[in-house]
Each structure stands twice: as C-alpha cells, then as structure tokens.
Amino acid sequence: MVALFYIFAAVAVLAALSVVFQRTPVYSALSLIVVLCSLAVVYLLLGAEFLAVIQVIVYAGAIMVLFVLVIMLLNARQETPTDRSRLARWLGAPLLAALLAEILWVVWKQFPPASTPAAPAMDAGPAAIGQLLFRNYVLPFEVTSILILVAILGAVVLAKKQL
C-alpha cells in the first residue's frame, strides 16, 4: 500500500516533466491527463474517495477534453524554439530553484517525518462531503453556480465568429 504512493508519485512527476518539456501540445495534454489520473490514485490512497472520482470525471474527463478539442481545432503544431527573450531563462531558472528550495525547506522543517501521525481514516464519502457542502458552505456553493453560468456566457460570446 505504501509502495503504491511512491509508484504513482513517480508516474505523476514523470508525466509532469513530459507536460513541460514536450514540443507537441497534444502530447502535453495527454501527459497532463496522466498526471491527473495518478493524482486521483494518490487522493484515493489518502482516503478521499469521492474527490478522486470527481477529479477523474470533471478534471480529466471534461476539462482536459476541452483542452484537447481546442488544440485540435486550432491545429496547434510543434513549438519552434525562439530567441526573442533570454531574460526568462536566465533569471527564471535560478529564481524557480530558489522557490522550490524554500518551499521544501519549510515543509521539511515544519513536518519532520516522525512527528505527524496520520489521523484515523474519516468518512470522506459523498454523504459526508455533501453534508459539509450544503450546511457550512452553501453560500460559496451558490456563488460558484453563478460563476459557472457567467463563465458559460463568457465562453459562448468570446468564441463566436461574429459578436
């Protein structure tokens, strides 16, 4: 069971590397789907069964379909390397390394491996999340539904051929 986390973590990292370093956008999108599915397995290992399936249904099964269809619609070809700006590369890489090092240092200092016993497995099924969602978080829930409506309207208007 513990080995499963490391296996799927390795798969997720390799797929994320593929997302970042692939030249063809379609392969990046497919690698992102692999990342999403392996993260869904990690959520399952953490006991979040409802969110794992929601991640696959909504994120990997709907949002990424949107990405893939747009890539196919726009016929996005392979990227050609550019030399318009070296600043991003020369300044970005060390800063990114510094950000990563800082996050990892904080994490390893605050949560040394021995000191965090796992809480007992809680009921993370749809009923429990539904209770929280419709009692404590009912206002964000309703606002989110309006947000989705606005997003739909915006997407339809923006993607029209003629306004």
């Binding site: 379609v26 392969y27 069964e49 409802f50 099964g61 379909v65």
Partner: protein, 353 residues
C-alpha cells in the same frame, strides 16, 4: 491452521475472479457479434451467417482468426503514438468498468465469503462514469491521429456527442441514488429487494423502473448515445462518413475498437439492470448450488433483454442527423432528467417527513 490459501485469500480470489470475468466477457462479446448478425439478418428477412458451424455458431471464431491474420495497413502520415494508443485505450477502458459490477449474491467457501463482484467500491457508480468519461479520448485521438478528413469529422462529432450525453447519463441516475441512498452498486440492488403488497399479496417487485420510469428512459437513451449505437451512430455510420473514426484502422486494431464497443454495450446493459431492474432478483429455489447460480441466471437474462433491445433498435430505427442529435440531447433530454431529479426529490422529502 491457516493454509497458504487462507493467508493469501484475497489476492488469489481476486485473481481468479478477474480471470473468470475476462474470459466470460470475451466470450460474450464474440457471441454478441454473432447474435447481432443473426438478429439483424432475420429482421431484414435473410439468413445471416449459417455456413460456419450449425446456425453459424462458429462464425465468431472464424472472424477472430481473420482479424489476427489480416494485413495491418498503416497510412503514412499518421501520428504513430496516438494511432497505436487509441484502440488499446478504448479496449482497456471498456474492460475496466466490469470490475465493479456485481453479478449475484455471494457464497461461503471454507469460512470465507466470496462475492460475485471483483470489488465493491463505495463510489462504484461514479467509478463507471469516470471510466466512461475517459473513453471519449480514445475516439478523439483515433480521429485526430488518422490525419484524414473522415476520421477527423467522425472523431470530433463523436466526442462532442459523448460528452453531451454523459451529462444526461449522470443526471438520469440521480433519482435512483436518492431512493437507494448509496453509490455502491450492491447497495442499490439491495434497496430493490422485496415486493410491494396490495392487500397482503405481493404484486410488483420493488424495481426502480416502476418508480423512476422517466429516469429509466432518459438513462437508456443516453446510454445508447454514449455507446455510439443506432440511432445515435452518426460518427461511425457507414453511409455518412465511410467508417468514421475507425476508417484508417485495419485488422487487429479495428477488432479492438469493435470489442470495446460491444464491451461498452454489455457494461451499460449490466448497469441498467442493476439500477432499474433489480439486479439479480428473481425466483430462487432448490438446493444450495442452484440458489447460488439462479441469481446469476436472472441477471444474465435481464442483461440479455437489454442487448436484444439494442440490436433490435439497430435493425429498425434510422439514425439521427447530427444537429437533431445534439439538440435532442441538450434541449430535451437534459431538461427532462433535471425535472425528474426535482420531482423525485420532492417526493422523497415528502415521504420521509
């Protein structure tokens, strides 16, 4: 004293279940193709396959051999990775959703209970929807990677159709979930046990099809659209788009798409049986061996009814035009499913008050 069998019980039994289910499913798919050809032939007043074996019963074996030995033609400009990935993805996903489908009650063997289900997830129904929503990619990638007009149109149309009807598929089932109160498939079947009584006489089994008729119709229509069958098979219709998304595929890869489509049909029929027709409920009598096997027989009979209906529709109905298909899905079926949810929730809340 615990033997090797007892210690590694779960692992061995799961392995055995997977092997049995795969073998049975492959045989069912092979003979489903025979059944389809025979039924459609008889609907069209002709014989169908009858040369190979009695009544053409060995035809699937001949077809399988043909697919194995046929020349594999790969066009020049295809995207290699995606071209090979798409049929294998379709095949794998189609067989993955069988893992949570229960076929019958369990039995005990040497103190261990063995259920007729590979695994019972708490969110079993959502797992099947997750696998279905990943199945859109296989068709999209097949159409895109073939680098040719007809597959591209077929692939894009089919993926748009599938994601539209997925919504209705999910929403049509919510009424059943409100009644059953659980997402586990075994739990949903358990909630349909027993009969409704009128004056002490049981008249009607507690199947969800009697309580949720609109949900049942919406589910089955959306399921036919999801599996790309007539009347919703415009993306692969022979008279419309040559072969649709599988035009450029030959021999073994085409066979994989073919098998994936039949496996999806079987999964959807099993799900319809579990959700609406009470699963494996039926008269059970006799010695204990018969008591274990009879539920599986009733389950198989109900699934066979759905498959027969699928094939019957293929032989009888014309196909939808693409814009008719999309407007039917979004403007009629989705509002109907939503209204069904609203009505069911009112009734359930009123009955529980």
């Amino acid at each position: 004293m615990a033997t090797f069998f007892d210690q590694h019980f779960l692992f061995l039994i799961s392995l055995a279940k997977v092997a049995v289910v795969l073998l049975v499913l492959l045989t069912i798919i092979a003979y489903l193709s025979w059944l389809e050809r025979k039924l459609i032939a008889h609907i069209q007043a002709r014989w169908g396959p009858y040369l190979v074996g009695p009544h053409g019963l060995l035809q699937p074996i001949a077809d399988g051999l043909k697919f194995l030995f046929k020349e594999d033609v790969v066009p020049l400009e295809v995207d290699r990775v995606l071209y090979w990935l798409a049929p294998f993805l379709a095949f794998t996903l189609a067989f993955l959703s069988i893992a949570v489908i229960p076929f019958g009650e369990g039995f005990t063997f040497r103190g261990h209970t063995i259920q007729f289900q590979i695994t019972d997830l708490n969110v079993g129904l959502l797992f099947i929807f997750a696998v279905t929503s990943l199945g859109v990619y296989s068709i999209t990638l097949a159409g895109w990677s073939s680098n040719s007009k007809y597959p591209l149109f077929g692939g894009l149309r089919s993926s748009a159709q599938m994601i539209s009807y997925e919504l209705t598929l999910g929403l049509a089932v919510v009424g059943v979930l409100m009644i059953a109160g659980t997402l586990s498939l075994r739990g949903i079947v358990e909630s349909q046990r027993g009969f409704w009584h009128l004056g002490g006489i049981p008249i009607l089994p507690r199947w969800n099809v009697f309580v949720q008729p609109i949900g049942f119709l919406a589910y089955f229509t959306a399921a036919v659209a999801e599996t790309n069958r007539i009347p919703f098979d415009l993306p692969e219709g022979e008279t419309e788009l040559v072969g649709g998304f599988h035009t450029e595929y030959s021999s073994f890869k085409f066979a994989m798409f073919f098998m994936a489509e039949y496996a999806n049909m079987v999964t959807v029929s099993c799900l319809a049986t579990l959700l609406f027709l009470g699963g494996w409920s039926g008269p059970v009598f006799g010695p204990s061996v018969l008591r274990v096997l009879l539920p599986i027989f009733w389950f198989g009979l109900k699934v066979f009814c759905f498959l027969f209906f699928y094939i019957w529709m293929r032989g009888t109905l014309p196909r939808f035009r693409y814009d008719q298909l999309m407007s039917f899905g979004w403007k009629f079926l989705l509002p109907v499913a939503l209204l069904n949810i609203v009505a069911t929730s009112f009734v359930v809340a009123w009955l529980n008050a």
